[in-house]
Point group: C2
Chain length 267, copies 2
Amino acid sequence: MAETLRDHGDPGDAPSVPAPLTPVTNDARPSAAEEARTIAASTSTATLASLTADGEPWASYVTYGLLDGQPVLCVSHMAEHGRNLSGDARASLAIVAPTTDPDPLASGRITLAGRVERPTGDEYTAAREAHLAAVAAAKYYIDYSDLTLWVLRVERVRWVGGYGRMDSASAADYLAAQPDAVSPKAAVAIDHLNDDHADSLTAMARALGGFPDATGATCTAADRYGLDLKVSTPRGIAYTRVGYATPIDSIDDLRAATVELAKRARS
Amino acid sequence: MAETLRDHGDPGDAPSVPAPLTPVTNDARPSAAEEARTIAASTSTATLASLTADGEPWASYVTYGLLDGQPVLCVSHMAEHGRNLSGDARASLAIVAPTTDPDPLASGRITLAGRVERPTGDEYTAAREAHLAAVAAAKYYIDYSDLTLWVLRVERVRWVGGYGRMDSASAADYLAAQPDAVSPKAAVAIDHLNDDHADSLTAMARALGGFPDATGATCTAADRYGLDLKVSTPRGIAYTRVGYATPIDSIDDLRAATVELAKRARS
């Protein structure tokens, strides 16, 4: 469960959001650990925070691959961040999910914090492959002698999903979680739902989402567990969740899952 | 002058780049301080490195505006990075220039390091305006009581322009520099030069760029001081610089400056 949104010290200014009038049938959604794994898998660039010899924080742009969820960096020991990691293994990585939202703080991002280690043996081979799989250009430099592979041993995970959606995850949960196979590929399907199936979305909001007074609904996101809906009601704009009958693990299953939701909403 | 590109420990693998055969007429280019100011002005999102209570480095996504080149952050004291800045003022900010290059390490990026301070009085007002000018959505939350404005007092500047282009700049030079008014807006003009004026670019490379044996040239960048050219020669691919007669401070002046270069190259 995400932390409750805390007010920003001036609740009188906050718009009130209508509450559901009936129980929400299935509000399952990705855990913070799953959200974090999905964001980690969504790109191959990040910013590293390392420590200078004076213990000062140093932010620097890096590329990474993922080895079972652990970031694999490839940095030069001639660069400041390379010297920093050699001097102090404590590090963290901020990763921002690609977004087209004009509001930069509406996007999802994570911080993975822990300690870096140089992989050896079979893990070195796997880490090298993981970095190359994510960063195509690395084939030109990964074997130069000044470059070092580092695996970030994740100890702390912080996820921010946008305004008011944030939580911490344990490292164990993060490492055990799977990235979402649906949400990064759902944009076209969401457009189709909103363009051609507005009535079905409204029916879902009424029958399954807890808003029998819905006058309209649009889908704002889809993931392995269900749809996020933005609901118009006479009481104002509300937000709810409609979960599929069973979770899905491929974008190819999204159509059947939403057809089932629409049928159930009208039955 | 940028630092000389140091090899990566395996010079035998590095491709050799043909040297100019004649003097380069005018190789003026932006200083590291100017490059850094241009990158700082190119976006309003960055990653902050701050220190936890245990002195560990914490990377987190932030928005910023610029007050005379100094980043102005607006962060909540309920967020980890907000608590970190309150506990230890040492901080740095990594900023990556927007890019369409498929190779993430070909893009320009900077690290600005120093200490944060809460602005007061007239500087508070100016810092607030600077943040709002850069981050439109901040008008919805900037005055909430949990949010604090911080100005990063820049003490160290590190610029990386891409592969082999990197340098440090003094804080004084960074603060005194002006962002480039030409390079962020030059894409259309560069396409036009390459599509319709390939002969002129080749003439520039031969007469002004030091490559009388050029068989072709394309423009890869344009800034206030001149053009970067990628030059085809019988000896291989080379890179050079052709500086305008005088620096320009508007994209509107780029056409006249390149026409003058073309005329001079053919005279």
